[in-house]
């Protein structure tokens, strides 16, 4: 490990700890009856859009279908998040806020350009760093992104030919 990566890891670790508390301390105790959220904020959508081509590298179709497939994966991810309980959506909102805010995006995620401009390399190393982080919080955030994006793509029949899955059988009778 070079001095620079060590420094970065230390900074990221410190910031993560700082934000861990914030991330896991719900801001208020809403009484039941007030929570029903819209879909994703534009910032969150940009983050998922940036992560999709990396998590699904090698899985997404090439050529003309590629953009369509990425768009469908994004829409399915958004739909999946909208179907989660309010408490879980709130945690994800906090995660996306952390990733969207420039200082924390740089320090905690190590992504130095805004998400729409982030390179595949920087997103890849962000995912690897969080997956292998010594902080359970960052590991769990990685797992959440992993689950949302992969679930969104492999629920789509467009993904099935490449994995040799013919889809559910027809049960037509009579």
């Amino acid at each position: 490990m070079t001095r620079r990566t060590l420094l970065k890891a230390g900074l990221a670790g410190g910031a993560a700890l700082l934000f861990a508390r914030w991330l896991y301390t719900p801001t208020s105790g809403p009484s039941p009856g007030v929570e029903s959220g819209p879909a994703l904020e534009p910032d969150a959508r940009a983050i998922i859009a940036a992560i999709i081509p990396v998590i699904l590298d090698g899985a997404l179709p090439a050529g003309t279908e590629a953009a369509l497939a990425r768009g469908e994966a994004l829409a399915a991810a958004e739909q999946a998040i909208a179907g989660l309980p309010p408490a879980t959506r709130k945690e994800l909102d906090q995660l996306f806020s952390l990733l969207a805010l420039a200082p924390t995006r740089c320090l905690v995620a190590g992504v130095w350009s805004p998400w729409p401009q982030a390179t595949q390399e920087s997103v890849t190393s962000f995912l690897a760093r969080w997956r292998d982080s010594r902080f359970a919080l960052l590991r769990s955030a990685y797992e959440a992104l992993h689950q949302i994006v992969l679930g969104a793509w492999y629920g789509n029949p467009r993904s099935w030919p490449a994995i040799g899955y013919a889809g559910p059988p027809s049960l037509e009778i009579g």
């Binding site: 039941p32 309980p85 492999y154 629920g155 490449a162």
Partner: protein, 539 residues
């Protein structure tokens, strides 16, 4: 599209026929004003416990109201598509997590509860578990002999049969590999009638072959005049002078995830909590019931499960055919309760979303595994938690919004079990002909031989790097027993501190079961609910 074909299919849907005949079913997401409902018995939850109790109590001539958090979905709605089924039929879209997010928990949330989406595996409670309960928890009336008639009754009711069809290759590889190593295996009995062997049990049975609560006891209770409230969350029990007086319910929105402003007040003479081992403790905790010994929600168990994926030279097609037909109790039967953790071996269905979200890594590594999906063979090891002092399980807590979360810390005792189980599974898979085996853990490495896998697994440091844990069985948290210092409910299932509150579900088990729990819940609930029906009849 296949979906459209099925939507127009002519397969019978007896539940819809029943609805047309006037069954009383209320979808609370459509309420425009608050409601009050009266009944002899209010039952929160319609899974294995609630469904069984509803039929027995309705048969006894009592007026019954069933309260279900999830939606009513019936065979015509079951499209065999994970992307539809998981958000519709499972708690938290099949992504429910333990508090530190380290365990993904599959749990049903629909009419019929987990019985609507389970994989039909039917085991009687192991003798070793019943003996342990008698010895350690003083349970009387729950020996194998005491329960035998109740198991027979439950097996008749949900048509538990020896499965006459050849196992699919995913299960047969488990059998073959185990037998090659001298490891005992058995055939899993299933609660099905006229099963088409298509393999989509986890997404709701489209042919009504699975004899879940959705097609057996709930229709029977409705035919007897019971009322079913759906998208209705049993929220708080009102109590005073040693009795529960009413239950406040929250009507949920159309997705069934968020609350609406509408409330339903249920006034009943007797209340049954059957919301499962996360839902029941949550209801009891929210209601601030007397709990002098702080037992509610503690000792909640998961059968924490580790996963081993292999690539086989021939097609496995683990998405096709009855999902679970072979098991091994070799590492359970030989284990002493006070020794290292014991585990049961089974095989899971391998559908795209379930596989993709469970397999580690991303990008080309992950895509490479997914590309081999038809050749993938998977074995799972379910840890028998709760039998050892180093396996106290988890605790159900309430979030600020009153919804529950299970805090389940993973201990060294479990990491040790994970390592042994991963080694066992890899050895079996190589013996069955695997080309490579990947112990499922964040690191996403696979091994090309048994010796390579064995050495690598032995070197896994205990901790989150060693294994990924999942769960499909939640038990405990409101344990049954004669001693109020250790148990929430007495041996009749009645809450120790209140006269007219009963708990009939998997939360009453003092430990995990050590086998898929549905049949244990059916049989023990049948015994307890029959006792309750008799007690109410005498009043």
């Amino acid at each position: 599209m296949a979906t459209e074909i099925l939507r127009q299919s002519k397969l019978p849907d007896p539940f819809r026929t029943g609805l047309a005949s006037g069954w009383k079913v209320v979808d609370a997401s459509k309420l425009t004003q608050d409601r009050t409902i009266e009944a002899d018995v209010a039952i929160v939850g319609t899974g294995a416990g609630g469904g069984t109790a509803a039929e027995i109590l309705a048969d006894a001539g009592l007026s019954v109201v069933m309260i279900e958090e999830g939606p009513l979905a019936t065979s015509s709605d079951f499209q065999m598509r994970e992307a539809e089924a998981y958000p519709q039929l499972y708690q938290e879209s099949a992504a429910r997590k333990s508090k530190d997010k380290s365990i993904n928990i599959l749990q049903g949330r629909c009419v019929g509860g987990s019985t609507t989406v389970n994989w039909t595996s039917s085991f009687r409670t192991p003798l070793s578990t019943l003996d342990y309960w008698a010895r350690e928890y003083g349970l009387v009336g729950f020996s194998a002999a005491d329960l035998a008639p109740w198991f027979e009754r439950a097996e008749r009711r949900v048509n538990v049969i020896s499965w006459p069809v050849v196992p699919n290759e995913n299960n047969d590889a488990l059998r073959r590999g185990a037998q090659a190593l001298g490891i005992n295996v058995g055939a899993i009995r299933r609660n099905v009638k006229g099963c088409w062997n298509i393999g989509y049990c986890g997404m709701g049975c489209p042919t009504n072959a699975k004899q879940s609560m959705l097609v057996t006891t709930i229709p029977a209770a409705l035919a007897r005049g019971a009322t079913l409230l759906t998208r209705t969350r049993g929220w708080q029990l009102e109590h005073g002078s040693g009795r529960v007086t009413a239950l406040t319910c929250i009507a949920l929105d159309e997705r069934g995830t968020g609350p609406t402003p509408r409330r339903i007040r249920v006034q009943a003479k007797t209340f049954v909590s059957a919301g499962g081992a996360i839902g029941t403790p949550a209801l009891l905790l929210r209601s601030k019931l007397p709990d002098p010994n702080a037992v509610i929600g503690k000792r909640t168990f998961l059968h924490p499960t580790v996963v081993s994926a292999a690539l086989m030279p021939e097609r496995v097609d683990g998405f096709s055919g009855a999902p679970q037909t072979i098991y091994s109790d070799h590492f359970l039967e030989s284990a002493a309760p006070d020794g290292p953790i014991a585990y049961k071996l089974e095989a899971p269905p391998i559908h795209p979303i379930l596989a993709a979200t469970t397999l580690p890594g991303y990008g080309r590594t992950h895509a490479g595994w997914m590309h081999e999906l038809p050749y993938m063979q998977v074995v799972i090891a379910l840890m028998r938690d709760g039998f050892h002092r180093e396996s106290p399980g988890g605790s159900v807590e309430l979030r600020d919004d009153g919804t529950p979360v299970l805090d389940y810390p993973l201990s060294g005792y479990l990491w040790d079990g994970a390592r042994r189980a991963l080694a066992t599974m890899a050895e079996i898979q190589f013996a069955a002909g695997a080309k490579t085996v990947m112990p499922v853990r964040p690191g996403a490495r696979s091994y090309a031989s048994w010796t390579e896998a064995r050495d690598a697994i032995a070197s896994f440091a205990p901790g989150p790097e060693a294994a990924t844990f999942v769960s499909a069985h939640v038990m405990g948290g409101s344990p049954l027993g004669p001693d109020p210092r250790r148990a929430a409910v007495d041996t009749n299932g009645r809450y120790h501190q209140l006269e007219n509150l009963y708990v009939f579900d998997g939360s009453i088990f003092p430990t995990s079961i050590g086998a898929n729990p549905q049949l244990s819940i059916y049989a023990i609930t049948a015994k307890l609910a029959t006792g309750l029906a008799q007690a109410l009849d005498r009043r």
